[in-house]
């Protein structure tokens, strides 16, 4: 008994030591192995073993985070994971699982890399804290005056601002990326060799005509709409409608012309070249249509066309104010009365006589890509894809008018491509408040203006004929480092443009 008891203790002690040793060894191995695995799976080589496409690899090597004078190479995980201690492991596991899924179940050749370059997407996979982890000094001695202003703005802004709001292409080079500088030569070069139009279109009757901008080779089609009474807004049973689209009311409109397409870059550049104010000084506000000289936009910063090309693509990034000055200028050079459409005129033109959600057949519920079921059931694109540039069929950029079929009135891109400015102020309950319903022009005042039609970014829900939206001036200028901000160009809005309406008095007074 005693013997046994005595013998047992050393054995127990030995076993303890043994277990202790084993424990330490295992811990060391686990930590060592874990660290190795972590290092291995965080190395650029490992990332590139899946992300082999040039969109990731080549563009990274051409970017300033690889190809720079200091020789420093910034690794994938330095930007695409948060710093250690700020959610590094969590995001690593999350992204890892997503990438594994993508690797085994998806076809990487079908990925839309252009889409992933967009700011909205990039914000989700680039971590601001990671930027600031390396870029600790936002005010290096060599920083320029504009850089200083921009960083001062960043550090004092109450709005959420992300580094990549301004520095989007620093990690992956994009040769089409909007240049950063003040483009004072914007619109200066004239390429046309044909003789310019010497006069505007002469209009004697109320019928379609092709307007010609004198002094340029630019022309565009205006479609005559008879007006009359139509039902404006969406009925309560319309799928995916929002409350501001109702109640449906009878609206009566006079005759008017509306442009077949959204104002193109060619059209807008004719205005810009003719009126651009040089330098920073904002042009004076012109209050009457008959004013002799109209001061137009200041030269833009960067590339307003986003590098997608101009031509017959719709003009974008210009402000609501700029669109109105454009109309005043166009009126002056053509001797007619051009302006932005009212919201009612816009919806009448968009509907083309229909009372359905779209100007073609189809149920918004089947077309939307919202809702979790749509991960399993593909949205129906059969009718919409040939008529509307929206989030499913767009390359997340504007398209030329030839991309789509016209609506029953012969108008293109009323829905989709770019959202369009209306002259009305926005109010969610104006439909209730409007008593006459005759040529309604919206509330007397308001903070923002109506935009209609949705854009290449929009879901099928938001390109319905009745869907309403409004300008977001503050957000659309959030990264404009100028003080005061430009009234001509939006720094942070790439999917809104406009189309013009011509008033009937243009011919009655002639």
């Amino acid at each position: 008994m005693n013997f046994y008891y005595h013998n047992r203790k050393p054995f127990a002690r030995r076993s303890k030591v043994w277990f202790l040793f084993l424990g330490i060894l295992t811990t060391v191995l686990v930590i060592y192995g874990g660290n190795k695995a972590l290092k291995y799976t965080s190395a650029d080589k490992y990332c590139m073993s899946c992300h082999i496409h040039p969109a990731a690899d080549q563009s990274w090597k051409m970017s300033t985070h690889y190809n720079n004078s200091s020789g420093v190479i910034v690794s994938c995980v330095d930007c695409h994971l948060p710093p250690k201690g700020e959610g590094y492991f969590f995001v690593k596991v999350k992204t890892g699982l997503r990438d594994l899924y993508g690797f085994y179940f998806k076809d990487s050749t079908k990925f839309d890399w252009e889409k992933k370059r967009l700011l909205e997407y990039a914000k989700g996979i680039v971590y601001e804290k990671s930027c600031l982890e390396c870029h600790r000094n936002l005010f290096p001695v060599t920083l320029s005056v504009n850089g200083g202003n921009a960083h001062l703005f960043y550090t004092t802004s109450e709005d959420p601002l992300n580094c990549i709001n301004c520095h989007l292409n620093v990690g992956h080079y994009d040769k089409n990326a909007a240049a950063h500088g003040h483009d004072t030569t914007f619109g200066v070069t004239v390429t046309s060799t044909e003789p310019p139009f010497t006069g505007p279109a002469k209009v004697e009757r109320f019928e379609d005509f092709t307007e010609m901008i004198p002094g340029s080779r630019v022309s565009f089609k205006m479609v005559a709409l008879q007006g009359g009474t139509f039902n404006m807004g969406s009925p309560e049973k319309e799928p995916l409608r929002d409350p501001d689209e109702g109640p449906v009311r009878k609206v009566t409109l006079s005759k008017f012309w509306i442009a077949e397409t959204e104002v193109t870059w060619d059209e807008y550049m004719a205005f810009f070249s003719a009126t651009a104010s040089q330098g920073r000084t904002e042009g004076q506000v012109v209050t009457t249509i008959k004013a002799d000289a109209i001061s137009g936009a200041t030269p833009p910063w960067g590339a307003p066309d986003q590098g997608w090309g101009r031509g017959s693509r719709p003009a974008i990034t210009l402000s609501w104010y700029a669109a109105n000055v454009y109309c005043r200028w166009l009126s002056q050079v053509t001797g007619k009365h051009y302006r932005l459409p009212t919201e009612a005129e816009w919806e009448y033109a968009c509907r083309g006589g229909t009372e359905t959600p779209y100007f073609f057949e189809g149920n918004p519920k089947k077309m939307t890509s919202g809702g979790f079921l749509k991960k399993l059931i593909k949205p129906d694109t059969s009718d919409i894809a040939s008529r509307v540039v929206y989030n499913i069929n767009s390359a997340f950029r504007t398209e030329e008018p030839s991309f789509v079929k016209a609506n029953p009135f012969g108008l293109k891109n009323m829905s989709g491509n770019v959202a369009e400015f209306c002259s009305d102020f926005y109010s969610a309950d104006f439909y209730k408040a409007d008593s006459t319903g005759i040529n309604p022009a919206g509330p007397v005042k308001g903070p923002e203006h109506v935009i209609r039609g949705g854009s290449f970014k929009s879901d099928a829900k938001d390109v319905r004929s009745a869907a309403r939206d409004y300008t977001k001036t503050k957000a659309w200028l959030v990264t404009d480092p100028q003080m005061p901000k430009s009234k001509w160009w939006y720094s942070d809005c790439i999917d809104v443009g406009f189309r013009v309406v011509c008033e009937i008095d243009s011919i009655t007074k002639h």
Binding site: A12, G23, V30, G85, F139, L143, P484
Partner: protein, 456 residues
Amino acid sequence: MKNIDRRKFIGTAAFAGMGLAGAGAVLSSCKRKTGPTDLKLPPILRGAPKGKKLRAGLIGTGERGTGAAINFISSGPDLEIIAIADVFQDKIDAFRERFASFNLPIPVENCFTGFDGYKKLMAVPDLDVVILATPPQFRPEHFLEAVMTNKHVFMEKPVAVDPVGIRSIITSAKKAEAIGLNVVTGTQRRHQEDYIATYQQVMNGAIGTITSAKAFWNQNHVWYREREPGWNDMEYMIRNWNNFCWLCGDHILDTHVHNIDVINWFLGKHPEKAIGYGGRARRVTGDQYDFFSVDFDYGNGISSHSMCRQIDSCANGTGEMIVGTEGYTNCQNTIWDLKGNVIWKFEYPKDENGVEMESSIIPAYVQEHMHLVYAIRTGNYVNEAEQTAISTLTAIMGRTSAYNGRAITWDEIFKSDMDLGPSKVVMGPVNMVFEIPVPGTPVISNVTPLYKGQII
């Protein structure tokens, strides 16, 4: 027997490791709490500490510049002025003569004239400190050059005359901070022992919660120069700089900024909005006003009434007043309760006869230089540029409101592209029109007298 579970052991070891890491994280994230004692106050010194010789250059050798240079060398041991720059040769000569009389000659090769003299001065080798004392129009470009050439800086208030200049100062201040260059500004009161003691009292609750404030700088007319034959436009304006807004910023900046800075300091913030009045009644040259009255709205019902005037034979005086829920103070040396009883008074040092003196032994404008030298020599970093830029911008906000009659918000003035002065500063004729600002818009009226002298 106590069985050792292997898994549990590994777990424990891992937890211990995590615990250690966690403890480290907790320790490192444990910051010093900010209490009433942590008021970021400058040190009150009897002299700058010893240390490596500091060689300074002075830009702007006018009266304040010369004064600042003397303040600098008298603030401690081994401090020298070795280079000077000014637009005008006669100002250089006067300075050299003055310093020669102290037996401190300035080598002629270290004297620079012209508008780019500051650049040449900052290129002088082994220069540690620059003193910026030109008219404030030029401060932003001088400060930026100083930071680009790694100089510690003493600069006079105000630090700019327009928002573009203010943003430049703030940006340069952040650049200076990033590379450890010390910057002290000549606000005086923030370095004045009695003000500092009163500030501590107020921060410790001596007057309760602050409810309103007043700041005033009312004095007789200030100096002006009449134009002399042979002076071109630019030379005339710079010799008479105190009377042109693009050079001086108007007297609401030039002098009243001292009081405005005290209110911002005691309230711990800048105002959100200003509505100002002003006009020009007796000034004889230039384009500035000679009186301003501004309501600075600090939000939550707290306002500071700011007034400044430069007209002879009026109710004059300078100072501040801050009222709280339990008392009020002149910010300088005395605190009263709401019934008017003195509840605290700063004790000034006594002279050899045992009589209390009227101010501290060391003047604030020397104390400022002691602070700069102390910061450089001890490594206790100081950078006052941004706070003085904020106070200068406060004054600009008030001035702008008085000039145009509108309410001006902080956001508007902070982001304004107002940039006073000619696009290029060169000697010669200046193609600028100096209209005295008139607020608001005119009344369109056809009222005319029917005969000369008719009352209308």
